[in-house]
Symmetry: C2
Subunit: 335 residues, 2 copies
């Protein structure tokens, strides 16, 4: 292995000079710096991450805790991850992947053994057990989602309440009177996943405000689940003319099933989807949607973490305003 001493010898300086040239923490004459850089290149030197971590108490690694559940939408998670890893590399950091399976202990392990400098947590629950661990370890952290008790932790997410409201309002303004929310899997609600409840409440509040008849139903993420969900919906609330779908996994099944039931979109049924933008075009009809800004949130989470590491950040809760884009799946109801 090529060490800093090898570089120092090659460049005719001391190891500390090489270190300072690399970190820029002390001034180095231009000439020396160039000689060092040349040596580094010639020898193919890469600082040993462990040694660096030990000496500086900085690993340049961010930990990201992702859910492995199937009832959560996988592509959405992947988009977060992609955005986060890309953003992290922009700050010269790497991303370590943890799974929610490990629970609070996983977070403790990683933070306590200084494997990562900060932790980003996805799929946050209302009463989130990882919050107290993070807090007691005084570990820089960013939650994607908002627990009931964020304590002093930073949070970032789409403003799901506003999103739910926007979706319902859009249907109301088109003149729909009976609408429904096709929500995430029941398991998501049971788990108290923070975004699901917030969306639901926003949806209901807007429905009430606009005097709509509104029904909310969770939906298992499978074709059968969707079919059952629709059966139930039309039995309990016939004449429904507008659907808000907060469950990316069943979107295509929904369209297939509506078509099978001779319901045309948007003539017989309007649909507002809640999903990342790149999912609205993969169906026969371009979907009116409230965007889930996965890329922004992922990137923002990393930025917030980096700012905490730089010491220039107090805890903050950032809720991104929803953006609704009207496309071809919504229209006034036929009356």
């Amino acid at each position: 292995m090529v060490t800093i001493s090898d570089v120092a010898r090659d460049a005719g300086v001391s190891p500390s000079t090489v270190s300072y040239a690399l970190s820029g923490k002390r001034s180095i004459s231009a000439e020396t710096r160039h000689r060092i850089e040349a040596s580094i290149r010639r020898l193919g030197y890469h600082p040993h991450a462990g040694a660096r971590a030990l000496a500086s108490s900085r690993t340049n690694v961010l930990a990201l805790v992702i859910p492995l559940r199937v009832d959560l939408n996988v592509p959405v998670v992947m988009q977060f991850v992609a955005a986060a890893v890309t953003a992290a590399r922009g700050y010269d950091h790497d991303l370590l992947l943890l799974t929610k399976d490990e629970g609070p202990e996983g977070v403790r392990r990683v933070a306590a053994s200084a494997i990562a400098d900060a932790v980003i947590v996805m799929d946050v629950e209302a009463s989130e057990p990882r919050v107290s661990v993070l807090q007691s370890l005084r570990c820089p952290a960013v939650l994607i989602g908002v627990p009931d008790q964020p304590r002093d932790l930073s949070c970032v997410d789409l403003d799901f309440a506003a999103a739910g409201s926007a979706a319902a309002t859009q249907l109301a303004e088109l003149g729909h009177r009976r609408i429904a929310l096709i929500g995430p899997s029941p398991a998501v609600y049971e788990r108290g996943t923070s975004y699901a409840g917030r969306f639901l409440r926003g949806f209901q509040a807007a429905a009430t405000e606009h005097n709509l008849t509104a029904r909310a139903q969770p939906c298992l993420p499978s074709y059968e689940g969707l079919r059952a969900c629709l059966d139930e919906l039309f039995r309990r609330q016939p004449e429904t003319t507008g659907l808000v779908v907060h469950n990316e996994a069943v979107l295509s099944a929904l369209l297939a099933e509506l078509s099978a039931r001779q319901l045309r979109v948007p003539a017989d049924m309007s649909i507002v989807a809640v999903c990342p933008d790149d999912m609205v075009e993969n169906h026969g009809v371009a979907l009116t949607s409230v965007a889930i800004p996965t890329a922004e949130v992922g990137q923002l989470a990393v930025e917030m973490a980096m700012r905490q590491l730089a010491g220039v950040a107090q805890p903050e809760i950032r809720l991104l305003s929803p953006r609704l884009t009207v496309r071809d799946s919504t229209a006034p109801p036929r009356s």
Copy 2:
């Protein structure tokens, strides 16, 4: 931070004894071990990962390089990742996520700075530039996919040639005479992605062998792309009665579009999908499929890496035999 010396003091032994108790590399009396374990628990000791890496030249981290392309199927990638991270934790290792964007330099960086002990590479191309880096660094590595020149690197993948053959053969045996392959995005072929070509060749070989008229078409992963692909297909090869779909992203679009064109599955058109098992049920009809064993491959990749780290493994190429499951999307052609 709680250090090994704190534990040693608390337990009334020397730091090295604690280390040996933890690693089991020398025998420690039961009594001492218990005292040490108690101290560890009481103090909440976690070994410092950097220090450990520095002293032992082992990080207990595996690097996984994933593609971020949209033209690759995202859920499939995610399933690999999930399987790999879970398997890695089973060996007390963590997973560091790299993206293909960083190219060979990313691999070099991680290996040379001893951030990870081994590298697992997804989305391997026929002439894979990362192979030589990996090899010259003498870094334990596992490729998911098989490049033209695997050199001494281990590879694991589904036997895509056999899979292509199995899919075509199944249609042949049902009596179909004109079939088609709806393949991945053209970009995937252009990039020389290893699995796409292997599947195609297997498909064509079997078609030839069974005297089928067979056409292969790449397909952009969008509704429009699929529609264009079908248009082209039916223009160039009308009377096609069987489809092999090696493009998970367009499965639901395909079913929707066939239905829109009054083609019933399987009465008018048989479909063999190539996809992970959990994707066959999300459509109106359960799909006959050749399984992509994402979980097995991901887990196997980790196991192979661990075996290399343990020093008990020479390079090997493991191709998993395809498993075709007949479901409801295939039937003899109407004639």
